[in-house]
């Protein structure tokens, strides 16, 4: 052992744990080395202290007691070091980044799954009608056979109506929040439950209508029947515009009276049924419909004005615009002098205006509520007809009037753009 290494034995001298060989080496070196001797002499105080058995016992107890708490203290020490702090900070940042990344990934999945779920929903939505179709078609056929005023619906109109119906469903599904339909099965379940709720709410209506047509309702109705009845409440596109104008309800094909007389003229039994099932229910609205005719001016007048006669099937508000070429539309009814923008009309009241044949088209708007102010540019767009709107053109066999109706009871407005070139003078 090198001379300078003898200092390492000093600890054993105080604790008196040196082996005889170590002790001899240390003391022999101390006699030769003054510094080592001084160190040993200084260690004598500690040696004397540690020689006392009581002190030694206390030290041992203290060291043993701290041994258990040493691990937690070492953790504290580890955290107190800069390297420990750096490790802890890096670990925390990593965990935070992983959590944030997972959240962003899940959000991305949700966003990606939203349109996918909507697209998934479409086939189920479209495949639903075949299941519900038989019960729906049965009452339709029955009502058609009973309704004497019903006219055969062109197949194209029916297809349009079905397409528009499915498109509205698709729009409704698309407008839902993407989280709601997690899967097509969930969406179908939710739709079924909502349908059942709606069918329960409308049960009174259906029941009343069923009684009015004197068709006894079975005591226990299957969900399929409820669904069928609900489907019949939706706009019935098999009814012609003329029939709708004349008062046929799109729901069941029954003729309905003017709105104000609905409740008053209802049979007592029907009122009783209504009072039982839906005492405060609003009267069933009629579909919005109008009839218009053109009467050309006298021969020789070039170009002679055309008289347009418009008649609504209920109390409503009317607007008539004319348009020439690419010019912006002009409001002709109500007249500018009146200062109004809506002309109130009642069922059966005919409104007549003369339209110059310089105009190549007329826009007729009918609404359940007064029109709001619109610009002329907006009037161009307002003339576009609704997708499910039904038009029954003039028939030589019957009369020269054209019927326009919107079987959708929820629709508040009806609009049609009529090209004057299609109505030559009589």
């Amino acid at each position: 052992m090198a001379e300078h290494d003898f200092t390492k034995l000093l600890g054993g001298f105080a604790a008196d744990t040196l082996t005889p060989e170590e002790r001899e080496m240390l003391f022999r070196a101390a006699l030769q080395d003054q510094q080592l001797f001084n160190a040993l002499a200084d260690e004598q105080a500690l040696k004397e202290l540690l020689t006392d058995p009581a002190v030694r016992r206390r030290l041992l107890q203290s060291l043993s007691r701290q041994g258990g708490a040493g691990s937690s203290q070492s953790w504290v020490d580890w955290f107190a070091r800069p390297a420990g702090l750096a490790w802890a900070g890096g670990l925390a940042a990593g965990v935070f980044a992983v959590i944030l990344g997972l959240k962003v990934y899940q959000d991305g999945l949700h966003q990606a799954a939203g349109p996918a779920a909507t697209e998934e929903e479409r086939p189920t939505t479209q495949s639903a009608p075949p299941q519900a179709a038989p019960p729906v078609q049965a009452p339709l056929k029955a009502t058609e056979s009973k309704a004497s005023t019903s006219a055969p619906l062109p197949e194209t109109a029916a297809k349009d109506a079905v397409a528009s119906d499915s498109s509205t469903r698709e729009k409704a599904a698309a407008s839902r929040p993407p989280q709601a339909p997690r899967s097509s099965a969930d969406a179908t379940q939710k739709r079924e439950s909502s349908r059942q709720m709606e069918s329960q709410k409308r049960d009174a209506t259906v029941g009343a209508l069923g009684k009015s047509t004197e068709q006894p309702t079975p005591a226990a109705q299957t969900p399929e029947l409820n669904l069928a009845e609900e489907q019949t409440e939706k706009p019935d596109l098999s009814v012609s515009a003329r029939a709708l104008f004349l008062g046929q309800s799109p729901a069941s094909g029954i003729a309905s009276r003017p709105q104000g007389d609905d409740v008053e003229s209802a049979p007592k039994t029907e009122r009783f049924a209504l009072a039982q099932k839906a005492p405060r229910r609003q009267p069933v609205p009629k579909p919005l419909a109008l009839r218009y005719t053109f009467v050309a001016g006298e021969k020789g007048e070039s170009p002679g004005p055309v008289t347009l006669t418009v008649e609504s099937n209920q109390e409503a508000y009317l607007q008539i615009w004319t348009r020439a070429g690419d010019a912006l539309p002009e409001l002709v009814l109500p007249a500018k002098e009146t200062g109004r923008i809506s002309l109130k009309t009642v069922a059966g009241q005919r409104q007549e205006i003369k339209v110059s044949q310089e105009n190549d088209r007329v826009i007729v708007r009918l609404s359940r509520v007064p029109f709001g102010p619109i610009t002329r540019q907006e009037a161009v767009m307002a003339g576009r007809r609704a997708p499910n709107q039904v038009i029954e053109p003039a028939s030589e066999a019957r009369e020269q009037a054209t019927y326009v109706a919107n079987p959708d009871l929820s629709s508040v407005e009806l609009a049609i753009e009529i090209p004057l070139s299609t109505y030559p003078s009589r």
Binding site: L9, F13, A15, T17, R28, Q34, Q44, L59, L63, S74
Partner: protein, 165 residues
């Protein structure tokens, strides 16, 4: 080395050591007192490993006695002898308090040591030698234990204020 050689070497080292704390004359007197005790009272102690620690112990006592004498004589503070208490035969309350305070300081300092140092001191308090501690701590070289012990002692001494007293 025989006993005389050991005592001669001891005298030289003791004088040098004491001269660092007291005057040179006092240091030589102190060394003479230590050697007188070793000659008179411990003639049977001849082995180096026994004689040197005995000399350290006697030296410490003689230095403490010199310190008490100087205190008693008023060399540090001029006080009346009548005001000083008579020394007891056993441990005086002062020495007992001094030892108690030293033990408290030692315990507090050891509590601040690291786990390895505490473990090392624990083995030493249990009387384990360095080779035994080497085996207990699973080290291949005893020099590692020596180095650890040296560092731990330095740390402990620093925590105690630089002196074991």
């Amino acid at each position: 080395m025989d006993r005389d050689d050991i005592l001669a070497a001891l005298r030289e080292r003791i004088v040098s050591f004491a001269a660092l704390r007291v005057s040179r004359d006092h240091a030589e007197d102190l060394a003479q007192d230590v050697l007188a005790v070793l000659y008179d009272k411990y003639p049977h102690v001849v082995e180096l490993i026994e004689l040197v620690p005995l000399a350290f112990q006697v030296l410490r006592y003689k230095m403490l006695d010199a310190h008490r004498k100087a205190l008693r004589r008023g060399e540090y503070n001029q006080e009346s002898v009548d005001d000083l208490a008579l020394p007891a035969s056993g441990g005086t309350p002062e020495t007992q308090l001094d030892q108690k305070q030293r033990v408290e300081r030692l315990l507090a300092a050891m509590a601040q040591l690291g786990e390895r140092c505490r473990e090392l001191f624990r083995w030493k308090m249990e009387g384990k030698s360095f080779p035994e501690i080497q085996a207990l701590m699973g080290q291949t070289s005893v020099n590692t234990i020596y180095t650890w012990d040296l560092r731990c002692r330095k740390q402990l001494l620093s925590l105690m204020g630089g002196s074991w007293e």
